[in-house]
Symmetry: D2
Subunit: 95 residues, 4 copies
Amino acid sequence: MAVEKLSEAAIQGALAELAGWTVVEGKLHRECTFRDFVAAFGFLTQVAIASEKMDHHAEIYNVYNRVRLDLTTHDAGGISQRDLDLAQKINTLLA
Amino acid sequence: MAVEKLSEAAIQGALAELAGWTVVEGKLHRECTFRDFVAAFGFLTQVAIASEKMDHHAEIYNVYNRVRLDLTTHDAGGISQRDLDLAQKINTLLA
Amino acid sequence: MAVEKLSEAAIQGALAELAGWTVVEGKLHRECTFRDFVAAFGFLTQVAIASEKMDHHAEIYNVYNRVRLDLTTHDAGGISQRDLDLAQKINTLLA
Amino acid sequence: MAVEKLSEAAIQGALAELAGWTVVEGKLHRECTFRDFVAAFGFLTQVAIASEKMDHHAEIYNVYNRVRLDLTTHDAGGISQRDLDLAQKINTLLA
């Protein structure tokens, strides 16, 4: 079954439960700042392992202690349930 | 001693020895594509360890099997010898 | 369905196709030496991502450029097909 | 200057300040259990980056959510100040 793009209303409803995430340029977006590079990259490694397991990969941007994550589903042409699931998982890693 | 911004001529001379790197928007720039996400993130982990050792961190962008690296030295207001050294080290990791 | 322990004959047959692996103390065993620590840990990160995806984790031992991997399936009380699959995947990462 | 092996008294004095570490078979030893494999390997990646920066590498053992670290200095034939420094750094990562 194809992954479907979520409606604007569905995304806004989900964001209410997803602390730290917004929609920027049509993608789920979160920025995090860590103590230092070591902490930032330790987090990114956790994101990497979790993403591969979900077969869904974030756009990752990192410089020093700052990380920016953008989630979208190419096959759906926008934000899908898979992005919400990954964002939820990432929040668990940050908790 | 302060890290100095290199002249355009010095950068162009160095690029001749740095396979795969160009200057984009005033930063040393290289893009790499890997077999898959696992290979890409294995490479990024190596870049992370090497960068922290050199106390100089790349701007890292990754999505799935694609990696984009941008190097600049904030304290120098441009590309410095530290960027050339890191680019050289990264090429060793890719060899 | 439970994961079953493989017979000695099945394991020996599989080892013929698994370059670098032997059975040591009842576990699939492989040792690898890398150029340096950076290369060794880059490899381990790939093993980590692949293992989590397969829901099956190696016993990992590392010091500097040396890595030792041991595979067994606790639920089966010995070596199972899951260990052979992970060993095969690890060989792909080393190729 | 050579790295020197610390006296038993010096090690015992230092252990008083190093929560979680003991001496096992002549090495500084600590075991940690994490929520799951993802958390354990995120921690190990931080240890890897910090170790390479200090040019001093732990013996790392990991299976699933469990990590065991052993520190010794080959050149000193025992536990040296470098092991204490790395143990201290690792405790910072765990804090």
